[in-house]
């Protein structure tokens, strides 16, 4: 009797059922464009989030989430964010664009300054906002909104 039941609940593939192909991982979403590089002076390099190499920056180059920008001594660049906020990057600086925060609960900010000086300006602070993370602090300016 026991054997009969086991046979009835057999787990093998029926003869007419074809094997299913392994499920493919969903494609990574395209990177989100956050800013644009302008007013390049001297040697400015960009490292894409997906790449390992520093490439020479070009005027008008779009910047995406988790991209990094580096300037050497005497170099400089302007980063124009989508909301119109402008950040002037000084020489010998290293910054990240809208970096994914490593710790849960930490909000993503527009800019991470790892080294060097940035001068930020917002023409209409009632409508614009800019948030900057550094190794020691987070700076927020303009409209009080949560970064999306």
């Amino acid at each position: 009797m026991v054997f009969v039941l086991l046979g009835a609940f057999s787990v093998g593939c029926p003869a007419d059922e074809k094997p299913v192909a392994p499920v493919q991982a969903p494609a990574a979403p395209p990177p989100v464009r956050r800013a644009q590089l302008k007013g390049l002076q001297g040697d400015v390099k960009v490292k894409r989030a997906a790449g390992d190499e520093w490439i020479s920056a070009q005027d008008g180059m779009p910047l995406f989430e988790n991209d990094k920008v580096r300037t050497v001594a005497g170099a400089g660049a302007q980063i124009v964010f989508a909301n119109g906020s402008i950040v002037n990057l000084g020489d010998d600086a290293l910054i990240g664009i809208a970096e994914t925060r490593p710790r849960p609960g930490q909000e993503r900010t527009d800019l991470t300054v790892l080294r060097g000086r940035v001068d930020a300006e917002m023409e209409d602070p009632a409508r614009q906002s800019l948030s900057v993370t550094t190794p020691a602090a987070t700076v927020r300016a303009g409209r009080e909104i949560v970064f999306q």
Partner: protein, 295 residues
């Protein structure tokens, strides 16, 4: 005076009108309000469903708030017409004005005035000052934030947030909260010379004798900045490390004020004081001639 007269006239204005034979609502509006376009307002004000009015019907007329709303609307229309077409708030102001016009047509004059005023403020108000700040990170990770203009920026570290106002700067070390804001520097009080005093200085070999300007010391001040304005000549800004300053001045009238300064902070200037410098007349030379027998 003019406005009170106008208000009095408006108060005396009729509050009702009777529709005459063969008169349309637009004609009633023209007769009573001087504006055919006021028909929609009469319609709204009297709860009429259409423009047909029976002769003899008593119609309620708008009160003095119509005049006020009309004025505010005109001001807003003019401001919008004069505004730069690229002005960031023009579109918003235009929508607000449209809203005001709709309220007006519906005889909701107070709301119309309020909306029109809002539209005017959007285009005629002073442009907000840009917010500018600097963030500097050293190799050791120390972050210095300086607010340069506009709204204060907010610096957060270790769960503590503090505002940084224009002209102020804050340094934050890794793992430390931002330091508490310093108390604002006090304003120095000038003590000498007394206001409007006439000082007489003795001419010396190297020019006039110096005048001493003094004021009460301010706690936390690292120095002082004295602004000296002669009645003739250019303004001078002088630095002092203590609460007094000796300065050689030529004859004339002077005004001066002083402010306390510290690292990244300056107090307000003191109230302006005045004094006059006059050169003492040269001492008379007493010549004594000995009588002599010589002729």
């Amino acid at each position: 005076m003019k406005s009170s007269l106008l208000l009095a006239l408006l108060m005396l204005a009729p509050t009702e009108a009777v529709v005459r034979d063969g008169e349309s609502l637009a004609e009633v509006a023209q007769r009573t309000m001087g504006d055919r376009g006021g028909a929609s307002e009469l319609k709204a004000l009297n709860g009429l469903k259409d423009n047909a009015v029976v002769p003899g019907t008593k119609l309620k007329l708008p009160g003095p708030n119509r005049e006020l709303a009309q004025r505010v609307l005109t001001t807003a229309r003019n401001a919008l017409a004069a505004a730069d077409t690229k002005a960031a708030r023009r579109e918003e102001a235009s929508a607000k004005l449209k809203e005001a016009e709709a309220y007006f047509q519906g005889a909701r004059y107070d709301e119309a005035a309020q909306a029109a005023d809002g539209a005017w403020k959007l285009v005629a108000g002073p442009a907000p000052q840009p917010t500018a700040f600097t963030v500097n990170v050293t190799d050791k990770g120390i972050t210095t934030v300086k607010s340069r203009s506009g709204q204060p920026v907010r610096v957060e570290a270790e769960g503590v947030t503090r505002p940084v106002h224009p002209g102020e700067s804050v340094s934050v070390e890794k793992g430390q909260p931002p330091p508490p804001p310093r108390a604002p520097l006090g304003v120095p009080q000038p003590t000498s010379p007394a206001n409007r005093l006439k000082l007489t200085v003795q001419p010396a070999k190297g020019g006039p004798s110096p005048v001493t300007l003094a004021w009460k010391a301010v706690e936390g001040a690292e120095g002082y900045e004295v602004e000296l304005v002669p009645a003739r000549g250019e303004k001078r800004t002088l630095q002092a490390s203590a609460n007094q300053l000796r300065v050689s001045l030529t004859a004339g009238l002077y005004r001066w004020s002083v402010r306390a300064v510290a690292h990244e902070a300056r107090s307000e200037a003191s109230a302006e004081q005045g004094f006059e410098v006059a050169e003492a007349p040269a001492k008379p030379i007493n010549l004594q001639v000995q009588p002599s027998k010589w002729k």
